[in-house]
C-alpha cells in the first residue's frame, strides 16, 4: 500500500457513519446520566424551545388584562409600592392596548399578539409567575440557572447533562442569538460546574452562525489530508501511551467536529423550505427584526428536527432597550411584539404541521414583568412580584389560565409559581425528576431547583 493510499483510507474515517454514531454514543455516556428511555419516567417531550423575552415584557399589556388600571389611570397607585430599580414611580398606568378573547378557551390576549393569540387553545398561560430579583442580571441568572449569581449551570445544560443529545453532529444546547445577549452575558447559557460539553453553543443568525465551524483550508481535500495524517499520528501516540480514555475521546471529538462542519451550514441553508413556509415565518416581512426573529424561529424548528435537545432564542436589538421599557412603553412594546408575534405563531403552526408539537415544549417569557404603575409618565419599571409566561406543546393542557395576580396586576396572589417550579415542570415533561437530577459540587448534590420546586400539575394534560 502506498503512502497516498494509506492516507486516503485514513481520510475515510472522517464521516464514516456507523463508526461515528457509535463513538458519539460512547462519548456521551461518559458525562451524562441518561438511560435509554427517559431518565426517571416516561417523557412527554423530547425538546424544549425557550423563547426568551429579554428585558421583561409587561404582563398587564399582553396576557394579563386588568380593567381596574383603566379605571384608575393617572391616579396615585393604591397599593403599597415595593422598592423599584429606578425609584421613579409614577401614577397608575392603564394599558395602551385592548384585549380580546380568543379560541374556545376565550383566553384574552392584547392587540400586541394577534398571531400568537390564535394558539391560546394550545397554551397554558401562567399569570402568577414570581421571581426573587428586580435587577436584570440577577433575574436572568435566576431564570436561566435557578440561582441569582453568576456561574451556575443553565437549564439547557442541566437538560443535556440529564438526557444527553439525540443529535450526532450538533451540540445539544443551542442558543439562537437574535442579536441581544442578555445582561449577565454568556454565563446565562453556561455549564457552570457541569462538564463544559453541556454549555450552550451560541449561534447567530448570520453566516457562519458559530465560531470556528468553517474549515480554513481552501479545499476539502486539503483538510482531509491533514486530518488523515493527524489520525495516523494519533493512532501511533495512542498505542505508545497505552489505552487512555481521555486521549480516545479527544480523538473522537475530531469526528464530531468534522461532522459539525458540514451539519451547521446544512442547518442554515433554507433551500429545502417552501416559499410559503418562509413567508409564514415573516422572512419576507418589511420589518427587519421580524425577519431576523423569523429566521431563528425557523432554525429552531430545524434544530428540533435534528434532535437538538434544548434551544433558546434571544431577541433582536433595536426595539428600544429589549423589552425593558422604562419609558416609551407604547413604542417599545409595539416593536418588540411585532418582532416576535408572527414568527412565534409560525413556529407553533409549523411544529404542528410536522407532528413535532407533541414532542416539543415551547416556553415564552422574560425574567420578570413590569409594574402596573408608571415609571415617570410613560414607562413601567421591573416587577418580579407577579408576571406572565406561557407554555405550549407536548404534555401541556391547552387553553389553561393558571394563577392570578391581584386586581392591579402587581403581585401574584393565587397559585404562585416560582422559577424553580417552572424548571421542575420543564424537567418533568422531559421525563426528569428535578429532585433526582443532581451533580456533586462544592460539597453537596447540586440541583437546578436547589432545594425548591414543585411540578405545576394543573397545567399538565
Amino acid at each position: 500500500m502506498s503512502r497516498r493510499q494509506m492516507l486516503a483510507r485514513c481520510a475515510c474515517g472522517f464521516g464514516g457513519v456507523a463508526l461515528s454514531t457509535l463513538m458519539a454514543k460512547e462519548s456521551r455516556a461518559s458525562d451524562t446520566i441518561a438511560t435509554a428511555k427517559g431518565l426517571h419516567h416516561e417523557p412527554k417531550v423530547k425538546n424544549v424551545i425557550f423563547l426568551y423575552m429579554d428585558g421583561g415584557p409587561s404582563h398587564v399589556d399582553t396576557f394579563d388584562p386588568k380593567p381596574l388600571l383603566d379605571k384608575e389611570n393617572g391616579k396615585p397607585f393604591a397599593m403599597e409600592m415595593e422598592a423599584t430599580q429606578f425609584d421613579n414611580n409614577g401614577k397608575t398606568l392603564a394599558s395602551p392596548w385592548k384585549f380580546k378573547q380568543y379560541g374556545e378557551s376565550g383566553i384574552p390576549v392584547s392587540e400586541l399578539f394577534p398571531h400568537v393569540a390564535k394558539h391560546v387553545d394550545d397554551m397554558a398561560v401562567i399569570r402568577s409567575m414570581t421571581s426573587k430579583f428586580s435587577e436584570h442580571t440577577f433575574a436572568n441568572y435566576f431564570l436561566h440557572t435557578g440561582h441569582g449569581l453568576q456561574g451556575r449551570p443553565s437549564m439547557g445544560a442541566w437538560t443535556n447533562y440529564g438526557l444527553g443529545s439525540e443529535c450526532d453532529n450538533l451540540p445539544g444546547f443551542v442558543v439562537l442569538n437574535g442579536g441581544l445577549i442578555p445582561p449577565g452575558g454568556l454565563d446565562n447559557f453556561g455549564s457552570g460546574y457541569l462538564p463544559a460539553s453541556h454549555q450552550g453553543s451560541v449561534f447567530t443568525a448570520s453566516d457562519p452562525p458559530v465560531a470556528n465551524i468553517s474549515r480554513k483550508e481552501s479545499s476539502a481535500q486539503l483538510q482531509q489530508n491533514k486530518l488523515a495524517l493527524m489520525n495516523q499520528l494519533d493512532a501511533g501516540f495512542l498505542s505508545e501511551a497505552g489505552s487512555s480514555n481521555q486521549i480516545e475521546s479527544a480523538i473522537k471529538n475530531y469526528e464530531l467536529a468534522f461532522r459539525m462542519q458540514a451539519a451547521v451550514p446544512e442547518l442554515m441553508d433554507f433551500a429545502d423550505e417552501s416559499p410559503a413556509t418562509l413567508d409564514m415565518y415573516g422572512l419576507n416581512d418589511e420589518f427587519k427584526n421580524t425577519t431576523t426573529y423569523g429566521r431563528i424561529c425557523l432554525i429552531a424548528r430545524r434544530l428540533v428536527e435534528r434532535g437538538v435537545r434544548f434551544i433558546e432564542l434571544t431577541c433582536p436589538g433595536g426595539n428600544g432597550d429589549r423589552w425593558d421599557q422604562h419609558g416609551n412603553l407604547r413604542d417599545g412594546h409595539t416593536k418588540n411584539a411585532l418582532t416576535v408575534d408572527k414568527p412565534i405563531s409560525a413556529l407553533l403552526t409549523d411544529l404542528k404541521q410536522r407532528g413535532l408539537f407533541e414532542s416539543t415544549l415551547v416556553v415564552w417569557g422574560g425574567e420578570f414583568g413590569r409594574t402596573p404603575f408608571a415609571q415617570g409618565s410613560d414607562g413601567r419599571d421591573h416587577n418580579p412580584f407577579g408576571f406572565t409566561i406561557w407554555m405550549a406543546g407536548g404534555g401541556i393542557k391547552g387553553g389553561t389560565i393558571y394563577g392570578q395576580t391581584d386586581e392591579y396586576g402587581y403581585k401574584a396572589i393565587e397559585n404562585r409559581v416560582e422559577i424553580h417550579d417552572l424548571h421542575a415542570t420543564m424537567l418533568h415533561l422531559l421525563g426528569v425528576d428535578h429532585e433526582r437530577l443532581t451533580y456533586r459540587f462544592s460539597g453537596r448534590d447540586m440541583r437546578l431547583t436547589d432545594v425548591h420546586g414543585n411540578v405545576i400539575r394543573d397545567i399538565l394534560a
Binding site: F138, P182, N212, K216, I251, G443, R444
Partner: protein, 1125 residues
C-alpha cells in the same frame, strides 16, 4: 409587626438550643365553646392549608415548625414562636397568612380573607385547643459541633508518621516514595518504570513553568550523564520567572480572579491586575506560604509589611485585593441582600482556598455535615463588615506616611520655637495689659471691632467701655446692668447650644475623636486631626495661629496627589475624583433618620457607603455620592446629605477633597437639620471672668480697672498654658484656644518693637520653611493604585435566621471558626481584628487544614489528582485522602521547611513516583483502574493557557515580557453584549495567557473551551472536559492557523536545512522527541500529497510555506501535542 418581638422569639430559640427538651406552660383548659370553635373552624383550615409542610404528615418539616399541636405552635420552629396566644400582632403565624413582613404562607396562594380572619380571631381568643398530652415533637437542634469535629479526620491535628516499610527497598529512599510504594505493594502491584528523559523533561517543564523545553534544553538534559542531571533541570525551572506565571495561574483560579465586575455592564475591577502581578512575584520569590496567607487576610495590618525587592513598595497590602475580586452589581434594589451575597462570595473564597472548607454552606443553617455552625458564618462575616474596599496607593503609601510623620514633627518643634519667641516678646506687654487697656489708646481700633463682634475676647470690655452716662455714678450703674445683661445673654446662648447639641446625634466630632474614629486612607489628613489649641504654621503668610476648633484637615503638602499614567479610575461616579491616598472615613454606624450633616471647610466629595455598596453607576443609588464646590464663605459650613431612604442600614461616610483649596471635616451629625452656630457658643472663660468680676462688685458700681486686671490675669494664664505646650483638652480647649489665637493675632500690639527678636523670629521661619519645603518635595505625588482592604471600626454581623436579612437578631462577635478557637474567643475591639484572624489561620496548631490543603494542591498540580481529590472540600462530603499518612507527613514537612512552596515542589518532582512512566500496567486494570494508588504516572491534558503559550513558544512569537496591564482579549463577533471592551490583537501581542485580560462577560473562548474556570467562585480543581469545540478550535481558529504559519515561516528561514532536519526540529519543539524514520517519511508524504491537492508543482513541497504550515497545523492538532505523558 415590630422586630422587637422577633428578638424575643429568637432568644427563645437560643434558649431552647441550650436547654433540650420542652418546658410546657401551665396546662390550660378552654371553654367548650372555644374548643368547638377550634374544631369546627380552625383545625380544618390548618389541615387544609398547612399540614402538607408543617405536621407529622410532612415529608420534610418546613422551617422546623409543626402546626398540629398547640405547644408546637407556641414554641415555634427555627424562626421562633408562631403563635403568641392572645396577641395576633405578635404572632408570626398571623404575619405569614397576611403575606406580611417575614413570611408569606401558604406560599402558593394567599388564604381567603375569611380564613385569615378566623385564624386571627382564634389567636386573639388565646389559641384555644383541646387538652393534649405534650408537644408532639419539636424543633430540636441536632447540631453537635464537638461530635462532628471529633468524628471527621480533617479537623484533627497533623500527626507526623514515619514512612511505612516497603519490600522493594531499592526503589527509592525518599519517604514520599515509600508512602506511595507501600500502598502499591499492598495492592500486589509494582510501580511503573522510570519515564524516559524526553518524556520526563517535557512533563517537568509544563508542570513547573507551563512551557515546553526548547530542543537545546532537551538535548542538554538527555546528554547530561551526571547523577544530578534532573535536579539541575528542576532547579533551573524553579528559578525561572516563568514559574510564577504558571503557578500564579493556579492560584488565580482559587481567587476567582477577573478584571471586570460582570453583571449588566461588566465594569472594570480597577487595577485588579496589580493583584495578579503580586501573586506572580510572591511565587517567584517563594514567599513562605504562611506569610502569603497572612498577607491575603491582613496584609494591610502587618506591623512590618513586606517590601518589593526592587522598588521598595508595600507588597503585603496588594494581597488583600483578593477579598474584592468578586462580581459587583451596579444598582441592586435590595442593597442589603446584595451586600450579603457579595460578602458570602468573599467568605466562600477565603474558606475554600485557605481552609478547604465550605463555610458558606452555613449561611442559612448550621452546616449540614461539617463542624461549622451558622454562628461561625456570621462571626466571620463581621471581619468583612469591619473592613472596606479602597484603591490603595501602594507605591507611595509607606513613604508618604513617613513624610507626614516628619512634617508633623517639624511643625510641632518649629511652632513651639516661634511661639516661644512671640510670647517672650509679649510678656512685658501682657504684664502691663490692664494698664494699657485703661490708659492707652493703642487698642481703640481693636475695641471698635470688638464692640460688634461677640466672639472677640475684648467684646465685654468694649461694650462696657462704651457706656458713657452723665456722671461716673450713672455710668457705673449702667455698666453693671450691661454686664449683667451680657452674662445673661451668654448663659442663655450656652444653654441653647447644649440643647441643640442634644437634639442631634453626633456621629464623629473630630475635635475630640474617640480612639479609632480617625480613619484615613493615606496620610493627607496628617498624623491626627487638628485639635483646638494646636499651633498651626502658615508658611505662605508666615503666620502662626492657634486652632480654635478641631478638624480632620487635609495637609496642603499632599495637594497634588494623582495617579501614575495607566492607572484605571474606578467605574461609575467614584472615578470622577481623586480619592486614593486622601480619603477620610467615619466609623460604620446604623442610620436612624438618615439625614446626615457634615460640617466642613472647602470643596469636597463624599460617598456614603451603605451596606458596603460601591458600584455607584446608574440611577438607583446615585444619591449616595455628593460633591460640593468651593463655598461662598471661608470657614466651616454645613453640607446636608439626605439618606433617609436608607434608614436602618449600616453606613460609613468617606470624604475626599476637591481641588487644591483647604479641606477640613469637623463633624458628622445626624438630625432633622444641621445645628446652626455650633462653633459660636459663648466663651466660657470670658463668661466666667465677667461673672466673677460682677459678683465682686456692688449692684450699683462697676470698676473698669478691676475688669482690666481680670483680663490681664486671664491672658497671662492662657499665655502660660500655651507656652508650656498644651492647652486643656476639649471641650474647654476651644475657649482657651480662642483667647490664645487672639493673643497671637495681636502680638504686634502687645510687644514693643524689637528688631533683634523680629530677626530671630524671621530666622526661625526661614529655617522652618526651608525644611518644610524639602519635606513637601519628598511627597510622592504620582502613584499607581490597586484594590486593597481598609480597616475600619469593629462591627459584628447580626445573626440572620435562615440567612434572611429581614430576620436579623443579635450580633455575633467576630471570631474564627469555633472548631478551631472555641466559641468564646473574640478579637480586640479596635479595628476589624483581621490580623488576629490571619495569625490564627496561619497557625498550624490552631488550624490543621492550612498546611494540608496547600500541600494537597501542590500534589494535585503535579500528579493530576489530589491526595484528597476534592481539593477545596476537606469536609464530610469531600472525598477522603487516598494516602492520609503521606498527606500529614507532607503537611508537617511543609511547615518545617519554612512553608516553602518551591522546596515542596522540588521534593515532589524529585521522587521516583513523579518520574514514573505513564504507561499502563495490565495487571493494574482491575486492581487500580483509576490509578489512585499511583502505580504509574497519570496522563494529563495541558491546560488552555499552556496550549496557547506553547503555540506562541514554538512559533517564535512568545513575548517573555512579564507583568503590567492586561492585553485586551481578542473579541470574536460572537462576543457581544453590554460593556463590550475594546478589541485586542488576535495573538494577544504574543504575551503569555496569564496577561490576557479576564473580563467576566467577555472571557476568552479558547480558554473557556479548554476549561479555564469562569471566575465566579473559587475553583481549585478544574474540569477536564473533552468537547468537539476543542477540536474545532485547534482545527479552525484563526489564531491557531496564524501560529502554524509563523512556525512554518520560522522553520523555512533555515533554507539550507534538509526537509528531514526540519521535520526533526518540529518534533523536538512540539513533542520534545525526535521523529522515527517512518514518521519523517509520512510527513514528507503528506507534504507531497498536500502539494498535489493544492495544485502545486511536485517539487514545491520542500519550500512552500503553506504546505509546511499545514504540517505544523497537523502536529498542533495531534493529541501528543496537548497531552502530557
Amino acid at each position: 409587626m415590630t422586630s422587637h418581638r422577633f428578638v424575643v422569639a429568637l432568644l427563645l430559640v437560643f434558649a431552647c438550643h441550650a436547654r433540650p427538651g420542652f418546658a410546657s406552660e401551665p396546662k390550660q383548659t378552654f371553654p367548650a365553646a372555644d374548643i368547638e370553635f377550634f374544631e369546627k373552624k380552625i383545625r380544618p383550615i390548618l389541615v387544609k392549608r398547612c399540614y402538607e409542610c408543617h405536621s407529622q404528615e410532612s415529608e420534610e418539616l418546613a422551617g422546623g415548625l409543626r402546626v398540629d399541636s398547640r405547644a408546637d405552635l407556641v414554641e415555634g420552629g427555627e424562626s421562633g414562636a408562631a403563635v403568641v396566644p392572645g396577641d395576633p400582632s405578635e404572632s408570626l403565624l398571623v404575619d405569614a397568612i397576611n403575606y406580611g413582613e417575614y413570611f408569606e404562607m401558604p406560599p402558593k396562594s394567599k388564604m381567603p380573607a375569611a380564613e385569615v380572619a378566623l385564624l386571627t380571631d382564634w389567636v386573639k381568643r388565646g389559641a384555644p385547643w383541646p387538652a393534649e398530652q405534650t408537644k408532639l415533637s419539636g424543633y430540636e437542634k441536632k447540631f453537635d459541633l464537638a461530635a462532628r469535629k471529633e468524628s471527621h479526620w480533617s479537623w484533627h491535628p497533623v500527626v507526623r508518621h514515619d514512612p511505612p516499610p516497603v519490600k522493594q527497598t531499592t526503589w527509592s529512599s525518599s519517604p514520599v516514595d515509600q508512602f506511595v510504594l507501600a500502598k502499591v505493594e499492598e495492592a500486589g502491584l509494582t510501580p511503573a518504570n522510570s519515564a524516559d528523559r524526553r518524556t520526563l523533561i517535557r512533563r517537568v517543564y509544563f508542570d513547573l513553568i507551563g512551557l515546553p523545553p526548547t530542543p537545546a534544553e532537551v538535548v542538554a538534559f538527555v546528554s547530561d550523564d551526571s547523577p544530578q542531571a534532573f535536579e539541575k533541570v528542576v532547579d533551573h525551572l524553579l528559578a525561572s520567572p516563568h514559574y510564577g506565571e504558571r503557578w500564579g495561574r493556579h492560584w488565580l483560579d482559587l481567587m476567582r480572579y477577573a478584571e471586570s465586575r460582570g453583571h449588566e455592564f461588566d465594569y472594570n475591577a480597577a487595577n485588579a491586575w496589580q493583584y495578579r502581578d503580586y501573586v506572580i512575584r510572591a511565587l517567584n520569590e517563594d514567599v513562605p506560604y504562611d506569610q502569603f496567607v497572612r498577607e491575603h487576610i491582613a496584609g494591610d495590618l502587618l506591623p512590618r509589611p513586606r517590601q518589593n525587592q526592587t522598588e521598595g513598595f508595600n507588597e503585603s497590602i496588594l494581597a488583600t485585593g483578593f477579598w474584592f475580586l468578586g462580581d459587583w452589581c451596579h444598582s441592586p434594589v435590595d442593597i442589603r441582600q446584595d451586600e450579603l451575597d457579595r460578602l458570602d462570595n468573599s467568605i466562600d473564597t477565603m474558606s475554600k482556598a485557605f481552609l478547604g472548607l465550605t463555610v458558606a454552606c452555613a449561611r442559612c443553617h448550621d452546616h449540614k455535615f461539617d463542624a461549622i455552625s451558622q454562628r461561625d458564618y456570621y462571626a466571620l462575616m463581621g471581619f468583612l463588615q469591619s473592613s472596606a474596599y479602597r484603591q490603595v496607593r501602594f507605591e507611595s503609601m509607606d513613604h508618604n506616611r513617613e513624610v507626614a510623620e516628619q512634617l508633623a514633627t517639624l511643625r510641632t518643634i518649629s511652632a513651639a520655637a516661634i511661639l516661644k519667641e512671640q510670647l517672650d516678646g509679649m510678656r512685658p506687654g501682657l504684664e502691663h495689659f490692664a494698664e494699657s487697656l485703661v490708659t492707652a489708646n493703642r487698642w481703640n481700633e481693636q475695641l471698635a471691632a470688638a464692640q460688634k463682634d461677640a466672639q472677640n475676647p475684648l467684646h465685654a470690655w468694649a461694650q462696657l467701655a462704651a457706656v458713657n452716662e452723665a456722671d461716673a455714678e450713672a455710668t457705673a450703674t449702667k455698666r453693671h446692668a450691661v454686664a449683667q445683661e451680657l452674662i445673661n445673654r451668654w448663659k442663655t446662648e450656652a444653654e441653647q447650644a447644649t440643647t441643640v447639641r442634644k437634639s442631634i446625634r453626633v456621629i464623629v466630632d473630630y475635635s475630640s475623636p474617640s480612639p479609632g474614629e480617625f480613619i484615613q486612607d493615606g496620610s493627607a489628613f496628617g498624623r491626627s486631626p487638628v485639635v483646638p489649641g494646636e499651633l498651626m504654621l502658615d508658611s505662605a503668610n508666615r503666620k502662626l495661629s492657634v486652632a480654635t476648633y478641631g478638624a480632620a484637615k487635609r495637609d496642603p503638602a499632599f495637594n497634588k496627589l494623582g495617579t501614575e499614567k495607566g492607572t484605571q479610575a474606578e467605574p461609575g461616579a467614584l472615578g470622577k475624583w481623586q480619592r486614593a491616598g486622601q480619603t477620610l472615613r467615619t466609623p460604620t454606624f446604623t442610620l436612624e433618620s438618615g439625614r446626615l450633616h457634615y460640617l466642613v471647610v472647602g470643596a469636597g466629595n463624599v460617598q456614603a457607603v451603605v451596606d458596603s455598596h460601591r458600584m455607584i453607576a446608574g440611577p438607583l443609588h446615585g444619591r449616595l455620592v455628593k460633591r460640593w464646590g468651593p463655598p461662598q464663605q471661608t470657614g466651616p459650613h454645613w453640607v446636608t446629605h439626605d439618606l433617609s431612604r436608607y434608614s436602618g442600614h449600616g453606613v460609613h461616610v468617606e470624604f475626599s477633597p476637591e481641588g487644591d483649596g483647604p479641606f477640613e471635616v469637623l463633624m458628622v451629625v445626624e438630625g432633622d437639620a444641621p445645628p446652626r452656630n455650633l462653633l459660636e457658643t459663648p466663651n466660657a472663660r470670658l463668661l466666667d471672668m465677667l461673672e466673677t468680676c460682677v459678683a465682686d462688685q456692688d449692684d450699683d458700681g462697676f470698676d473698669m480697672t478691676r475688669l482690666a486686671s481680670a483680663y490681664q490675669s486671664l491672658l497671662l494664664d492662657v499665655a502660660d498654658k500655651t507656652a508650656s505646650g498644651k492647652l486643656p483638652a476639649a471641650p474647654q480647649a476651644r475657649d482657651d484656644a480662642a483667647i490664645a489665637q487672639w493673643l497671637i493675632e495681636n502680638a504686634e500690639l502687645l510687644r514693643p518693637a524689637d528688631n533683634k527678636r523680629n530677626k530671630q523670629i524671621g530666622q526661625l521661619w526661614d529655617d522652618f520653611i526651608t525644611k518644610e519645603t524639602a519635606l513637601k518635595e519628598k511627597v510622592t505625588t504620582k502613584s499607581q493604585s490597586a484594590i486593597a482592604i481598609w480597616d475600619g471600626n469593629g462591627v459584628d454581623e447580626q445573626f440572620l435566621v435562615r440567612g434572611n436579612h429581614k430576620m436579623s437578631t443579635d450580633p455575633v462577635p467576630r471570631r474564627f471558626l469555633e472548631a478551631f478557637v472555641g466559641s468564646s474567643s473574640s478579637c480586640s475591639p479596635d479595628g476589624s481584628g483581621r490580623l488576629e484572624l490571619a495569625n490564627q489561620i496561619t497557625d498550624p496548631e490552631t488550624n490543621p487544614p492550612i498546611a494540608r490543603v496547600m500541600v494537597n494542591r501542590i500534589w494535585q498540580h503535579l500528579f493530576g489528582r489530589g491526595i484528597v481529590p476534592t481539593t477545596d472540600n476537606f469536609g464530610v462530603l469531600g472525598q477522603p485522602p487516598s494516602h492520609p499518612e503521606l498527606l500529614d507527613y507532607l503537611a508537617d514537612e511543609f511547615v518545617r521547611d519554612g512553608w516553602s512552596t518551591k522546596k515542596m515542589i522540588r521534593r515532589l518532582v524529585l521522587t521516583e513516583t513523579y518520574r514514573m512512566s505513564s504507561e499502563p500496567n495490565r495487571a493494574a486494570v482491575d486492581i487500580d483502574p483509576d490509578n489512585i494508588l499511583l502505580h504509574r504516572m497519570n496522563i494529563r491534558r495541558l491546560q488552555g493557557e499552556a496550549i496557547r503559550d506553547t503555540l506562541l513558544a514554538i512559533s517564535g512569537r512568545l513575548d517573555a515580557k512579564m507583568y503590567g496591564p492586561p492585553v485586551p482579549v481578542y473579541l470574536t463577533k460572537f462576543m457581544q453584549g453590554r460593556g463590550r471592551p475594546g478589541n485586542g490583537p488576535l495573538d494577544g501581542a504574543g504575551r503569555r495567557s496569564i496577561y490576557i485580560s479576564v473580563r467576566r462577560n467577555f472571557l476568552s473562548p479558547m480558554m473557556l473551551v479548554f476549561d479555564t474556570p469562569v471566575p465566579s467562585q473559587s475553583v481549585g480543581r478544574r474540569n477536564i472536559s473533552n468537547v468537539p469545540a476543542q477540536a474545532l478550535t485547534l482545527m479552525n481558529d484563526p489564531f491557531v492557523i496564524q501560529q502554524s504559519q509563523l512556525w512554518a515561516k520560522r522553520l523555512l528561514e533555515h533554507e539550507s536545512e534538509s526537509a528531514e532536519r526540519r521535520i526533526e526540529a518540529m518534533y523536538e519543539s512540539a513533542f520534545a522527541r525526535l521523529p522515527t524514520k517512518q514518521e519523517v517519511d509520512v510527513a514528507i508524504g503528506f507534504l507531497q500529497s498536500q502539494a498535489e491537492a493544492a495544485g502545486l508543482p511536485a517539487d514545491r513541497w520542500q519550500t512552500e510555506e503553506r504546505l509546511w504550515s499545514d504540517l505544523c497545523h497537523v502536529l498542533i492538532n495531534s493529541k501528543e501535542f496537548i497531552f502530557l505523558r
